[in-house]
């Protein structure tokens, strides 16, 4: 509980922004869905067959899993807010259309006849009689749609539209329960709030509904206009994957670029999503730069024939750079020093007592070892299986959740764990990473990735980002992650601090 409160306090501005984004996406989608579904229901009302076709169609649309729908939209409209809104609108159509249609067809025919007999025009009849009578149905349709939208909008974070989903995603990624809870609870609370607001409108006369809807539309138009007229200098969008490390890196990029050309407008998209998503965003021109790992490039981005040959870190980078260039016309700048790769870690004190430096040194203490490893590591060929084969090591292991293994080694229940070499916990729990002296773990080095045309148009940016080549050691990265994750310092501050102390940036 305390944990949640402190997380809440330290991230309140993020939360507010996420809430605002979430609300904006949801309400805009709801509004668009209303503007499509209600007139559609009115138009097809006299044509029973057509109406049935639309009912079927909207229910079919709703059966598409939301994740699949988002995926389908990416090649068509790219990423970000637009596909998110399209997907949400698609989901909201059915309840609104169905309820409006039912509400209109359930009107007592005697009332319809009276309206005709009194000489009301089609429009007058619609606004004076039909819509008000169908209003309770329409509103409960809107209510259903709103709850649906606000829930589904958490998925918008997956395609870079932000919102409360980014809290949840980040929480899952970092195994940070408070973040997940804050994201989920806020989203639920928002749904309740909106649903309550709509319920209030249901019980008040049309004037109120129109007034509040008009206010929202005005607000949105206002915000949109402001965005549109706001002077726009050259904007460079830099995104990062989930987690503190990419966040720190992209802040460094931003600082370096701004120091070089102060007029450039740099937009940062932290915790923007997972690998394939960022990669597509880059190719679609939705973002301009993001830091990627050499290992990841070979593993999952480029097409490459499987080789048994083990590559050194420079070889990996060269191959990644060449293939990205050939297959995707992307430019991959020089990598930084640290390797964020699988590692085996023991307590620093344990290492000292047994003179451990390399993984091969473990032979001497093999009988004393008791491992706490993640399931993934145990199962991978370049994980524990490889360790057994290449280092001829074997010891009893216990599979555990990523966050638990650090506590397990701290409390002495195990004495060796797997880790990512830049995890902040290594520093937090005073663990020592053993050197992979037989090069089992594929090298993962980080470097900025951008489109070729972008690189050609911005040689100064390529230059300034290359200042980071060969900089930042694994220990540096661990320290910075530690400052952000444990000491709760902002990524911006930590990034800046590093650049200043290493004279990459002048005060």
């Amino acid at each position: 509980m305390n944990n949640i409160i402190s997380t809440l306090i330290s991230r309140r501005s993020d939360l507010l922004q996420a809430l605002w984004q979430h609300l904006g996406i949801s309400l805009l989608s709801l509004l668009i869905a209303i503007l499509i579904a209600v007139p559609l229901a009115i138009v097809v009302l006299p044509h029973k067959k057509t109406a049935n076709i639309f009912l079927q169609l909207t229910s079919i649309l709703q059966t598409i899993p939301s994740l699949a729908l988002l995926g389908l939209l990416i090649p068509l409209v790219g990423i970000g807010t637009v596909p998110a809104i399209i997907a949400l609108v698609v989901y909201a159509l059915l309840p609104i259309f169905q309820n409006t249609y039912v509400g209109l067809t359930e009107i007592d025919p005697a009332l319809e006849e009276a309206a005709d007999a009194f000489g009301m025009s089609r429009l007058r009849k619609l606004f004076k009689v039909e819509l008000p009578l169908a209003k309770p149905f329409i509103i409960s349709g809107i209510q259903t749609a709103a709850v649906l939208i606000i829930g589904t909008a958490t998925l918008a974070a997956l395609i870079g539209a932000g919102g409360l989903g980014s809290f949840i995603l980040l929480g899952i990624d970092r195994n940070n329960m408070p973040l997940i809870i804050i994201g989920a609870v806020s989203s639920a609370a928002l749904a309740l709030l909106i649903s309550g607001w709509i319920f209030f409108l249901k019980n008040h006369r049309a004037r109120w509904s129109f007034l509040s809807v008009a206010l929202i539309i005005l607000g949105m138009i206002g915000a949109g206009l402001y965005q549109a007229v706001k002077p726009k200098p050259e904007t460079i969008t830099i995104a990062g994957k989930l987690g503190s490390e990419p966040d720190i890196l992209i802040h460094m990029y931003a600082d370096l670029i701004k120091a070089q050309s102060p007029k450039t407008h740099v937009v940062l998209k932290s915790n923007f999503g997972k690998t394939s998503f960022l990669f597509n965003a880059l190719r679609n021109d939705d973002i301009d730069i993001y830091p990627e790992f050499t290992g990841t490039v070979l593993e999952s981005l480029v097409k490459t024939p499987k080789t048994k040959q083990r590559l050194t870190a420079p070889q990996t980078y060269q191959k990644a750079r060449r293939l990205l260039q050939q297959q995707f016309q992307l430019t991959y700048l020089q990598p930084m020093a640290y390797e964020n790769t699988y590692a085996l870690a023991v307590k620093a004190s344990f290492a000292k007592a047994h003179h451990l430096k390399n993984i091969s040194d473990l032979q001497t203490v093999q009988s004393q070892l008791h491992g706490g490893l993640t399931l993934e590591f145990i199962d991978r060929d370049d994980g524990f299986k490889g360790v057994k084969r290449l280092y001829h090591l074997d010891f009893p292991v216990q599979s555990m959740e990523p966050s638990l293994r650090y506590e397990a080694i701290a409390s002495g229940r195990v004495n060796i764990v797997d880790a990512y070499s830049t995890d902040s916990e290594l520093q937090q729990y005073q663990l020592l990473v053993l050197k992979d002296d037989r090069h089992l773990f594929p090298p993962y080095q980080g470097a900025p990735l951008m489109r070729q045309d972008f690189a050609k148009q911005h040689p100064e940016i390529v230059n300034v980002l290359n200042k980071l080549a060969g900089r930042i050691s694994a220990t540096d990265m661990q320290k910075m992650n530690y400052q952000v994750n444990v000491k709760k310092q902002s990524s911006a501050k930590v990034a800046r601090q590093y650049l200043l102390t290493h004279h990459l940036l002048k005060e």
Partner: protein, 338 residues
């Protein structure tokens, strides 16, 4: 002649010599089924015309062709000498008040808003609408201050139909179409509203076409009555003529239908007591038929129609003579009881 009904007042003043509404060989088919066939009728300005007939005989269909809720499949209907289709449809409808059995007040609008619907469309000013609404509500015994603000759900059946009538009258239409407006009401409200509509008719001189399946109601309200059966207009006549001179068996039998005869729990006595013009005679003419004063009127009528007898004699004990009672006397008595 222009078609936009603007100078309606003037034109209404000059329609004495021509019918306000005229049906000419009107027919309405629903698919193959003929609901109304070869319907011919003229309704004069200021007339209270009642269409009566059993359910399914085509009354509603006929009425709905007047304000073009239905279009005839043959023949035509004239309003003020011109085909109804010659007028802009909504303007035509603003000049024809419409009252339904289901009342159909709009549940989302207050009484005031319901009443204001048509005058609003006609462009009458708000203040004028309000003052006339108040006047009409008072006229139907609903206190305006209480009822104007009410929602339809807060009205009893009788109150709601009063509002329904006020709503139809609010735009001062020259003609009112009323489709069984009182048949869903309790007997007391029904009688009250029948009296009310008669009063309003005399006061406002509104032409009314009134549909009912209830001959009793037709007799009470109509200046003239048209009897319909299976889509045909069998006879059009004044109430008394209809009873004395039915054009065929159906009209006669419909006239005798049970709801017409229910008030005849009277005795012959009542007919005599009510009438100043009864002739008395000391001696019975030959072959005459004699009844006692306490004979049930129902049985008397049945007997008279069965034996085709138009005059009977009633023995009066007190004066020791006979009262001469004709079918016309009985009819007049019945009509007066409504």
């Amino acid at each position: 002649m222009d078609s936009n009904l603007v100078n309606l007042e003037d034109r209404l003043a000059n329609v004495h010599d021509q019918p306000l509404i005229e049906f000419k060989h009107v027919e309405k088919k629903f698919r193959q089924m003929v609901a109304v066939r070869d319907f011919n009728l003229q309704i004069q300005n200021g007339e209270f015309f009642v269409l009566v007939g059993p359910s399914g005989s085509g009354k509603t269909t006929t009425l709905k062709m007047v304000n073009r809720l239905y279009e005839p499949t043959a023949g035509n209907i004239k309003f003020l000498g011109k085909n109804v289709t010659a007028y802009p449809i909504n303007q035509l409808r603003w000049h024809m008040g419409y009252v339904l059995q289901k009342i159909a007040l709009f549940p989302n609008l207050t009484v005031a808003e319901n009443i204001a619907l048509i005058p609003e469309m006609k462009g009458i000013s708000k203040s004028e609408i309000t003052s006339y609404s108040r006047e009409l509500l008072k006229r139907v015994q609903l206190a305006p201050d209480i009822y104007l603000k009410r929602m339809p759900a807060e009205l009893s059946g009788g109150e709601a139909q009063r509002v329904g009538i006020v709503r139809a009258l609010a735009s001062k239409p020259p003609i009112m179409l009323m489709d069984e407006p009182f048949s869903a009401l309790d007997p007391l409200s029904r009688t009250q509203l029948q009296d009310l509509i008669l009063d309003l008719h005399h006061e406002l001189k509104t032409t009314i076409i009134f549909v009912t399946h209830d001959m009793k109601e037709a007799m009470k309200l109509g200046d003239r009555i048209g009897v319909m059966h299976e889509g045909e207009l069998l006879q059009t006549a004044k109430p008394v003529t209809l009873a004395t001179d039915p054009v065929n068996d159906f009209v006669a039998s419909f006239f005798k239908a049970k709801d017409v005869l229910t008030p005849l729990q009277y005795e012959l006595n009542d007919v005599i007591a009510d009438n100043d013009h009864i002739e008395y005679t000391a001696t019975l003419p030959e072959k005459s038929v004699k009844f006692t004063p306490h004979e049930n009127l129902n049985r008397v009528i049945e007997w008279m129609t069965q034996h085709q007898i138009t005059v009977i004699y009633v023995f009066i004990k007190q004066t020791h003579n006979y009262a001469k009672v004709s079918t016309l006397d009985i009819l007049n008595f019945i009509v007066h009881q409504y």
